[in-house]
Point group: C2
């Protein structure tokens, strides 16, 4: 298969972890006789430094022409703290999601057997947890009108949803549930929000088309608790943009490190793959960033194009690295300082020689 | 001291747990020679059944004339699931908060030494955690304009904040930090929301008035993770209405049961005290509801009026009940079925005879 892949390393640890994912994709291409062509482009704070724009026209063009996008991370501590910045790195990501209509953000949350002790949660609590979060990504309060009054004394954001926006991601979530444990939990705040009530109504209307899926509901406040005290109750979680942002980062505690969580952001025409973690400027260029989230995002990319064997091989490599403790300091207690690059190298080696790779 | 206390038991387990808190307050009144006069009123689904209104005029009048309000819980599963209900039990609570201008919701999160093993989190993780959440309660997306288009295909909610609304609760939070560990964390989503940027701006402007308080910031998605992986980093958390709703219910996992979390909702003229848990209709009338959250809310009520010794005695009673495992099934593994009433009786006995109460 020939794939044009846009690579947007972005800011902070983005470039380091993305380099490992690219390395892994290159190894897969050789091993399976594919042609992957990589097109690097600027985004975020690093794009602002060079062009003044967190999402330069050229980057959008490269992404539009690519079969898939591999995204690193964006953000910069200076902007994080400053509420008055006119342009922000995050706009690069948000505008990209919107302009490519990447409406379905899919975030798997899997408790790895070999990492159960790394979690802040008790082992017995998280064992066998396997959740996938379907987060709506191009609507809600992220993209509704924002206002700041002229005197600066009042500010507002509108959270809005249309039936169309809810339907399209709801169908994807129901279909995912059909191939999994057949359970869908809609998370909203329908006891308070009109937009949440529309979510419930639309999802309830769609539900009869999927008689094999058991639908239930949780309010977001309750879900934030239930995710910790009983994570195994969940199979597919469907939710709107902001609640999905919160729940999926919270869910990283189950897996043991946010450096492990991958995601796919899908639209009808485009597909982007990115770790859910941010740019962690402070950790940049120290070789301590965990590349697994980025590498697993690459596996989701492969799977998206039906390259299941390829994706499986990448995941086996990841599993093996975890089992052998070839991991960055966020997870490693056994070996001194396994670097970002070393983890990438190990998984690359594994792909080249699945049967031979071992501790060396 | 003479206090007129409005008692709004509400729905589900509300009446059962509130009855225990009233029992405890009566014992305190006798022990310390106070006069507490209780005025019961309807709210929520039970008020709807009797009057059609989740917050009857009479209830508002009773609350307005009282020195303090003791609130149970509201909600009903039937309404929870139905997105089309015209009137909802929750409106009783929301309208009460708004009409009495109860803008500061204060939610302490304390890891009890005797309950460390009850949490889903590892003991080492939560030991010594002592957080208080200052949640804004009368603004934000809860109270902004809500719209449903005529064709039912679009719905929206506005999240809006004014400088005034932010300032008044921010001052309370800074002052609380001064009497505690001197640390204030503002939780928002300033990288995306205009309203959050106003929060940051206003809080940054106020900060120099409190030079002894260390101010820092977290985005809500990140805070939802940090609360689990490193809860001890927090002292006072200040946040807007919706984020506070989510974070405080999530924080219950630290304490071990949501049946333990009390809260105060304060305005400049009125003060309400309520457990943070909901009505749990399914658990009603079984004697299994944990009354501690309601009893600790009564302790916060006493403290609010400067009755510190009285509040301390209630808390000692609670501590002792926990130490001796006189607790409802959500916490108890030692004794069969200690009922809601038994827990209340135990704490009442303790107040009457602090030195003698013991397992019997
Ligand atoms: C960086 C930020 C704008 C982004 C979001 O809130 O969507 C991030 O937290 C994420 O989850 O991808
Ligand atoms: C019942 C509901 C409206 C309420 C809220 O969201 O504020 C509750 O969850 C709470 O936290 O007091």
């Amino acid at each position: 298969m020939k794939l044009n892949i846009a690579v947007l390393p972005g800011d902070g640890i983005g470039p380091e972890v993305t380099a490992q994912a690219v390395k892994v994709l290159k190894a897969i291409a050789i091993e399976f006789n594919h042609v992957f062509i990589f097109h690097e482009a600027l985004v975020g704070a690093s794009a602002m430094v060079k062009t003044g724009d967190p999402l330069p026209e050229e980057t959008i063009a490269i992404c539009e022409n690519a079969d898939a996008i591999l995204f690193g991370a964006i953000g910069n501590t200076a902007y994080d703290i400053d509420p008055n910045a006119k342009v922000r790195p995050e706009q690069g990501l948000l505008r990209l999601r919107k302009s490519l209509d990447l409406y379905a953000n899919i975030r798997p949350v899997i408790a790895y057997e070999d990492l159960l002790t790394k979690s802040s949660l008790k082992k017995s609590q998280i064992k066998d947890t396997n959740i996938v979060i379907y987060r709506e990504l191009t609507g809600g309060i992220y993209f509704g009108e924002k206002k700041l009054s002229e005197d600066g004394n009042n500010a507002s954001d509108i959270c809005e949803y249309s039936r169309f926006e809810i339907e399209r991601i709801a169908h994807l979530a129901f279909k995912a549930a059909q191939t999994r444990k057949g359970k869908l939990t809609l998370v909203d705040k329908a006891n308070v929000l009109e937009s949440s009530r529309l979510w419930r109504r639309v999802v309830q209307e769609i539900a009869p088309k999927y008689p094999d899926v058991e639908l239930n509901y949780q309010f977001i406040d309750n879900a934030a608790m239930e995710l910790i005290i009983n994570p195994r109750q969940f199979d597919v979680i469907l939710t709107e943009n902001m609640f999905g942002d919160i729940l999926s980062e919270e869910a990283s505690v189950i897996v043991g490190s946010i450096g492990l969580l991958a995601s796919a952001s899908l639209g009808d025409k485009h597909a982007m793959f990115e770790p859910i973690h941010g740019a962690y400027t402070k950790a940049a260029n120290k070789g301590i960033a965990n590349p697994i989230a980025s590498i697993l995002s690459a596996a989701m990319l492969l799977e998206h194009f039906g390259l299941d064997d390829e994706a499986d091989l990448v995941r086996e490599g990841v599993d093996k690295s975890l089992k052998l403790h070839i991991t960055t300091p966020d997870l490693n207690t056994k070996y001194d300082h396994v670097t970002t690059t070393k983890v990438g190298d190990f998984i690359e080696d594994f792909i080249n020689n699945p049967d031979e790779t071992n501790l060396n």
